[in-house]
C-alpha cells in the first residue's frame, strides 16, 4: 500500500504585509481607487477578512467580510458609520454584526452613540434567538449608558479620548502622512471591549509591486494593550486598502460579501450532509 503523503507545510516566517498577502494568494491586486475618492465624503469600503495559520500551503482562509459605509454632514457635523460584519464559524454557524455609529468629526471619529445588533445563524440559516443581542448606547461624559434587548441597562466607565476599531478604519484615511505626532487613545473594540493605552503613528511609505505595477503604500501602526500591532495600509489616494494584524488581514475587495456567502453555503451544506449521513 502506498504510504500516505504528508501535505507540504512551509512556514511563512515573517509578518503579513500586502506583498506577502499577494505571495500567499490572498490578494491579486487591490481595487483601483477612483481619483476623486474623498475620505471626508460618502464612501463604502468592503473588506474580506482573511486569516493565516502560518503556513504557505494550507490553513489560510477567508472567514468573513466587513463593510463600512460612511456618510457625513457638513464640516464639523457628526460622521455616521454603518457597519456590517459576518464571520463564519465551524459547522455552518454564522455570526453577524450590524452597527450604526454616530461619531464626532474629530481625528479619531470618536463614537458618541450607537445601535449594535449581534446575531447567530444556525446551519439551517435560522436565527438563534437566545444568542442575539440588540444594544443602544450613548456616551455621556465618561459613562457609556447601554440599553439592551430585554430591558437590560448597563453603565460602563471610559476615560480620555476614545475610538473604536471600526471608527479607526474611517479615521486613518483622514490622517496626514506625517511621522509626528502620534495619537494616543483608548479603543472600544467591537463597541464592547475597552483596550487602553493605544498609540497610532505613521510608519512611512513602502514600495511594492501590485498587478505588475510599482505602487507605494503608506503604513500607520497601532500598538497598545490587549492587541497585537495593527498595520493600516493606504494607497496614495488615501484609501485604506488593507489592515494586517498578526494572523488576520482585512483586504479591500468589492466581491468579499459574495465570496463569504458562497463559502458559508458550502459549509452549511457539508454540515447538513454529515448530520444526515450520521442519522442514516
Amino acid at each position: 500500500m502506498a504510504k500516505k503523503q504528508t501535505p507540504k507545510r512551509t512556514i511563512v516566517g515573517s509578518p503579513l504585509t500586502p506583498s506577502l498577502l499577494k505571495e500567499l494568494s490572498a490578494v491579486d491586486e487591490f481595487p483601483e481607487t477612483p481619483k476623486d475618492f474623498d475620505p471626508q465624503a460618502y464612501w463604502v469600503n468592503m473588506y474580506r477578512i482573511w486569516t493565516c495559520h502560518g503556513f504557505r500551503e494550507s490553513g489560510n482562509q477567508n472567514v468573513g467580510f466587513l463593510r463600512i459605509e460612511r456618510t457625513a454632514g457638513k464640516a464639523n457635523q457628526p460622521i455616521i458609520l454603518k457597519v456590517r460584519q459576518e464571520v463564519i464559524q465551524t459547522d455552518g454557524l454564522l455570526h453577524t454584526l450590524d452597527a450604526k455609529i454616530k461619531c464626532l468629526n474629530n481625528q479619531l471619529a470618536s463614537p458618541v452613540q450607537w445601535h449594535l445588533r449581534s446575531n447567530f445563524l444556525d446551519p439551517n440559516r435560522q436565527n438563534i434567538h437566545d444568542l442575539g443581542t440588540d444594544e443602544i448606547a450613548v456616551i455621556d461624559g465618561n459613562i457609556i449608558n447601554i440599553r439592551a434587548r430585554g430591558g437590560h441597562k448597563f453603565r460602563r466607565e471610559v476615560r480620555g479620548l476614545l475610538t473604536s476599531d471600526w471608527c479607526l478604519f474611517e479615521a486613518v484615511q483622514r490622517l496626514k502622512f506625517d511621522k509626528e505626532p502620534s495619537l494616543n487613545f483608548d479603543m472600544l473594540e467591537g463597541l464592547g471591549l475597552l483596550k487602553q493605552g493605544q498609540c497610532l503613528s505613521y510608519s512611512g511609505a513602502y514600495p511594492m509591486k501590485m498587478g505588475g505595477k510599482n505602487v507605494s503604500l503608506h503604513r500607520f501602526d497601532q500598538l497598545g494593550d490587549g492587541i497585537l500591532p495593527y498595520e493600516y495600509w493606504l494607497d496614495n489616494n488615501l484609501r485604506l486598502v488593507a489592515v494586517t494584524s498578526m494572523n488576520k488581514a482585512y483586504i479591500l475587495d468589492g466581491q468579499a460579501e459574495k465570496t463569504i456567502k458562497q463559502r458559508i453555503e458550502q459549509l452549511r451544506k457539508s454540515y447538513r450532509k454529515t448530520k444526515s449521513s450520521v442519522r442514516k
Binding site: 512556514i11 511563512v12 516566517g13 515573517s14 509578518p15 503579513l16 477578512i49 486569516t51 493565516c52 495559520h53 502560518g54 503556513f55 490553513g59 482562509q61 472567514v63 468573513g64 464571520v87 463564519i88 464559524q89 465551524t90 459547522d91 454557524l93 455570526h95 449581534s118 447567530f120 446551519p123 438563534i128 434567538h129 437566545d130 444568542l131 442575539g132 443581542t133 439592551a148 434587548r149 430585554g150 437590560h152 448597563f154 502620534s182 473594540e189 467591537g190 464592547g192 471591549l193 475597552l194 483596550k195 487602553q196 493605552g197 498609540c199 503613528s201 501602526d221 500598538l223 494593550d225 490587549g226 492587541i227 497585537l228 500591532p229 494584524s245 498578526m246 494572523n247 488576520k248 454540515y271
Partner: protein, 478 residues
C-alpha cells in the same frame, strides 16, 4: 453553610515542617484513596451553587495575571476573578498538550486512559465526560461554547453538551470575541430559574503559535522601533542545561527560534514575550465580557466559577516555546475558583499540589453528586473552603505520545522518558527555575528511587486505553 458565612481560616503551617511530616504520606496517597467514600459522607450537607461556569484557556502560562504578581500585563478581569476566590500556584496540567490535557479535565482520567495521547484523538466512549455525567446525574443544563478539540477543534456536536457556539480553528483573536458575545447574549437572555453548567472555552493565548510561524525569521531590527526599551526582559532561566532527555532537546530544536535562517537574537526573544503578553490581555478582555454579564445579570452570587488553562507556554524559559514540555512553564497552569461567600476570597493557595485531573471531581462535589468511578484526581472543595488537608497530593503528568512522565512531589520534580537513560530531578524549592539536574549525582539516589516507585505505583492503577502506544516503557513493567 450560610450563604454569606466566612469560610474557615486556614491554620498556618510552615511549608518545610509540613513536608517533613508528610514525606511518608506522599507515597501512601499516591497509591490512592477511593474518592467515592469521601463524597458519600459529605454529599447531602454541602451547599450547592445554582450554576457552574467553567472557563478554559489555551496555552496560558501561570504567571500571566497582574494580581498574581506579573508586571508585564494589564489583566483587570483575571485580577478580579483572582481576588474573588482561590488561586492555586502549584497547579499542573495532566498533559502539556491540548487534546490530552482537555481529555483529563473533562473526565478526571489520565490522557492515556482516555486514549488521547496526542492531539485530535477521540475520547474513549466508555469514560463519561463532564457534560454526559452532569446531564445524567444533576438538574444542571449543560452548555458548551468554544474550543473542544476532542477530537475536532470546534464542533456543534459534543456528547452531553448543547453547543451554543463553535469558532474557527487556530484563530483565537477572531473566534474568542465571537464566542464571548455568544456567552454574553446567552446569559442575558436565559431564564434565571434553570440551573446550568456552561463551559466557555477560549482559544487565546494560543495565537502565539501562529505568531511564531509568522515571526520565525530573525528580523534585521525591531519592526516597531517605538517598542525599544519596552520589551519584556528575558527570564532568569533562559539558558538551559545540556544534560536533558532527547525528547526535550529535539523539541527545542524543532521549534521556530531554532528553525529559521539564523537563530533568534535576544531582542527577538523579548519581542516574542511582549507579544505573548498582548495575547493574554486580549484573552483578559474576552473573559471580562463573560464575567461582566454574570455580574450584570445577577448570576454572580449563585455561580461557582472555575478557571483553568489546558497547558502552559514555554515563553523562552530554557529557550523553549509552545508546550509539550515538563518544565514548569509548559506544565504548570493557572487554576482559579470563585463563589462569593462560599469559598475563600483573595487566597493564594501555594501549598497543595493539584492537577487538571482534580477539576471533574471538584465540580461533581459542588454539584452534590458522586464523580464517575476511578477518578485519578480529588475534589479540591475542602481546600477552597479554607482547610489545609492532611494529604500531600502527588501529581503525575504525561506527554509526548505516552513516552514521557513527570512526577511532582512536595519538594521534587522527577522526569523520565521511554528508552532514554537521562532522567531529570529538580529541587523545586531551592531551584524553582529547574536549572540544576540532580539526577546525575549520587546524593539523590534514594530520592530518585522513591520517585520511580511512586510512578510505578501510580501507573499500576491506570486502565490505559488499547489504542495508546508505548506501553512497553519501564514504568509499565511492574
Amino acid at each position: 453553610m450560610n450563604k454569606h458565612a466566612k469560610p474557615k481560616q486556614a491554620s498556618h503551617i510552615n511549608r518545610r515542617e509540613f513536608i517533613k511530616l508528610s514525606t511518608s504520606s506522599v507515597a501512601v496517597l499516591a497509591g490512592g484513596i477511593p474518592t467515592g467514600n469521601v463524597f458519600a459522607s459529605r454529599k447531602s450537607r454541602q451547599p450547592k451553587p445554582k450554576n457552574i461556569v467553567l472557563i478554559i484557556t489555551d496555552q496560558q502560562h501561570i504567571d500571566t495575571i497582574a494580581a498574581g504578581g506579573c508586571r508585564h500585563v494589564r489583566t483587570p478581569s483575571l485580577d478580579k476573578l483572582k481576588k474573588s476566590g482561590v488561586s492555586f500556584t502549584q497547579s499542573y496540567t495532566a498533559n502539556p498538550l491540548c487534546s490530552p490535557a482537555r481529555s483529563a479535565v473533562f473526565t478526571g482520567r489520565t490522557s492515556s486512559e482516555c486514549g488521547v495521547h496526542i492531539n485530535g484523538r477521540p475520547m474513549r466512549s466508555d469514560i463519561p465526560n463532564m457534560g454526559q455525567w452532569f446531564s445524567q446525574h444533576t438538574n444542571y443544563e449543560t452548555f458548551y461554547a468554544g474550543k473542544w478539540h476532542l477530537p475536532r477543534t470546534y464542533t456543534l456536536d459534543i456528547p452531553g453538551f448543547k453547543v451554543i457556539n463553535t469558532g474557527i480553528g487556530g484563530f483565537g483573536y477572531l473566534c474568542d470575541t465571537v464566542m464571548s458575545r455568544a456567552c454574553e447574549s446567552f446569559l442575558r437572555n436565559r431564564s434565571k430559574s434553570k440551573p446550568f453548567l456552561l463551559v466557555a472555552s477560549f482559544m487565546q493565548p494560543h495565537d502565539i503559535c501562529e505568531w511564531l510561524r509568522l515571526n520565525m525569521e530573525n528580523p534585521d531590527g525591531l519592526r516597531y522601533p517605538q517598542l525599544a526599551g519596552r520589551l519584556t526582559e528575558l527570564p532568569s532561566n533562559f539558558n538551559f542545561d545540556n544534560n536533558e532527555p532527547k525528547d526535550v532537546k529535539n523539541r527545542r530544536l524543532r521549534n521556530d527560534p531554532f528553525r529559521g535562517k539564523s537563530k533568534w537574537n535576544k531582542e527577538h526573544w523579548r519581542y516574542y514575550r511582549w507579544s505573548y503578553y498582548r495575547n493574554i490581555e486580549h484573552l483578559d478582555a474576552e473573559v471580562g465580557r463573560v464575567l461582566q454579564v454574570l455580574e450584570d445579570s445577577g448570576y454572580i452570587d449563585d455561580t461557582l466559577i472555575a478557571f483553568i488553562s489546558d497547558h502552559g507556554e514555554g515563553m523562552g524559559h530554557h529557550q523553549m516555546v509552545r508546550k509539550s514540555s515538563f518544565y514548569d512553564e509548559a506544565s504548570r497552569v493557572p487554576l482559579l475558583f470563585s463563589w462569593p461567600g462560599h469559598i475563600s476570597e483573595n487566597k493564594t493557595e501555594a501549598f497543595h499540589l493539584v492537577s487538571g485531573l482534580d477539576l471533574m471531581p471538584t465540580l461533581c462535589d459542588y454539584a452534590g453528586i458522586k464523580p464517575p468511578k476511578n477518578m485519578r484526581g480529588r475534589s479540591l472543595r475542602q481546600i477552597l473552603e479554607g482547610n489545609v488537608l492532611s494529604w500531600a497530593h502527588t501529581v503525575v503528568t504525561e506527554v509526548s505520545s505516552n513516552t514521557g512522565r513527570m512526577v511532582r512531589t512536595q519538594r521534587y520534580k522527577y522526569i523520565t522518558y521511554k528508552d532514554d537513560p537521562v532522567e531529570q530531578l529538580f529541587d523545586m524549592i531551592d531551584d524553582p527555575g529547574e536549572t540544576k539536574n540532580l539526577a546525575t549525582g549520587s546524593n539523590y539516589a534514594s530520592t530518585l528511587t522513591e520517585h520511580r516507585r511512586i510512578l510505578k505505583d501510580w501507573e499500576a492503577r491506570l486502565d490505559v486505553a488499547p489504542n495508546v502506544p508505548n506501553t512497553d516503557a519501564w514504568w509499565y513493567k511492574v
